[in-house]
């Protein structure tokens, strides 16, 4: 019965779910694209398609975010709730954007990742995407009555620390190697962008926790 009175609020929730689905799809195609990139050259023909699909879902996520913002502008929630959700969406948006930037960087700069870095880069991507998965759970819990938000902050924090360690190890490995100076700089920038994913997730995780705590009076 209450759905009649709070139709727009339910719309907000549905759109947030749609955004998270688009984010998940962006993650999946990003992961596939990076795997193709790290694998044999024969597989590189798929790379363009997977990059395009990542971009498509990143754009879709952007469109859903704009739709939520437009709904918010009709002042469907209290000002404080509106601000919290807008800030949440703007912060989360950095994650699919970073993924798109990374793939475009590899594509346009024609970066070839040396074999001795491949495994650690795989580990960095895996840990980063696991952190993103946990952040999506936190966002869903914000709109449901589940109490996992606080415990997930610590888990995501550990994931972020793990990613920081891998990032430092990779940068050391790059500059300890005999690679060309320019390639070293390219690879360093790529690793930093990969590390940024978990950094953004960690910031968002803490922000989600604060939004949740504000509802406890």
């Amino acid at each position: 019965m209450f759905r009649i009175f709070f139709r727009k609020q339910h719309q907000v929730y549905s759109l947030v779910e749609k955004y998270l689905e688009a984010l998940q799809k962006t993650q999946e195609y990003f992961s596939l694209a990076m795997e193709v990139c790290l694998a044999d050259d024969r597989a590189r023909s798929d790379f363009g398609f997977l990059t395009d699909e990542t971009h498509r879902f990143e754009s879709q996520a952007d469109d859903v975010r704009e739709e939520i913002k437009t709904l918010m502008y009709s002042k469907v929630l209290l000002p404080e709730s509106r601000e919290d959700i807008m800030r949440l969406l703007d912060g989360m948006d950095k994650i699919p954007r970073d993924m798109e930037i990374i793939l475009n960087m590899i594509k346009t700069q024609k970066i070839s990742i040396p074999d001795f870095l491949a495994q650690e880069i795989r580990d960095l991507i895996k840990a980063s995407l696991e952190a993103v998965d946990l952040m999506r759970v936190q966002v869903q819990d914000l709109f449901r009555r589940k109490g996992r938000i606080k415990e997930l902050v610590a888990v995501i924090d550990r994931k972020e620390s793990q990613c920081d360690r891998i990032e430092r190890s990779l940068v050391n490995a790059i500059f300890d190697s005999g690679l060309d100076g320019f390639l070293k700089l390219q690879l360093k920038e790529l690793v930093i962008f990969l590390g940024d994913i978990s950094d953004h997730v960690d910031v968002m995780s803490k922000q989600i926790n604060i939004i949740n705590l504000k509802r406890h009076v």
Binding site: F2, F6, Q9, V12, Y13, K75, V76, L77, L78, P79, E80, S81, D84, I85, D141, L142, F143, R144, R145, G147, I211, N212, K214, R215, H216, V217
Partner: protein
Amino acid sequence: MGWALGANNASNVIGPAVTSRMLRFGPAAFMASLFVLIGAMLQGRSGIDTLSSLTEMTLHQAVLVSVSAAITMTLMTIWRLPVSTSQAVVGAILGVGVLNRHVDTATLSKVVTCWVGTPIGGALMAMVLYRVLAALHNRFQPNLLESDSLVRIGLAAAGAYGAFALGANNVANVTAVFVRAGHLSVSAATLIGGLSIGLGILTFSKGVMETVGSRLVRLDPFSALVVLLATGFTIHFYTFIGVPISTSHAVIGAVLGIGLHKGIRTVSSRTLVSILSGWIFTPFVAGALVLALVKLLGES
């Protein structure tokens, strides 16, 4: 008088429901007007009885009391001093009482005690309500949207209740003097008073509502809800006692109570000093004005 009272005071009870977008102005104003009228007609008698018993007066004097109170409110607004309708009306009635050499001091003491008690009552009510409602809210553990819905429904409901209490408590300020002068029955007084306050809400309260409402909602939304409920309960409490009070003072008391509960300063000393000065200046200016008008226009 009723129109001005409605235009100014509705914001204290229904403003946050409008600025939180739970209700649009039109439906909110209509709801507030309806509940003001219902409150006035169902429970407005006690305030009318109290103000009517302060002194005797003729119809001519009753009209001068109303005019003096209205001019006082206008002057205090121009001088940017806080003004309470109740204090302006009582001050003007006392002016007539001085003229007639008859003031019921027992009733006057009761009225002044209630004025002092209004912000204190608002503060205490807010502190108690905050504890109780916070405990219930946290036990329920609502998510973001549920919490938002609860507060918005609460703001609308508290607004309706506050409007009812406003009508019940403040209708006496508008028509009690005419009951005392013998030209209105209590029933007619509550109807006319309620209608005039409602008209003020419908026609001229929008600007004040958005200003006051947004200021209150800048408190976190839950605190704003507690302030509204505490204000409504405070006004209603003094309705049962039979004394018209200032809704603004009740709101300020409630905001102060929230601050005391949280250990933060929510009301400036300047605001508190302005309330104190209002207690002294408003009745004095209204009383002096009615005496001046009687001197100018004669006693009948």
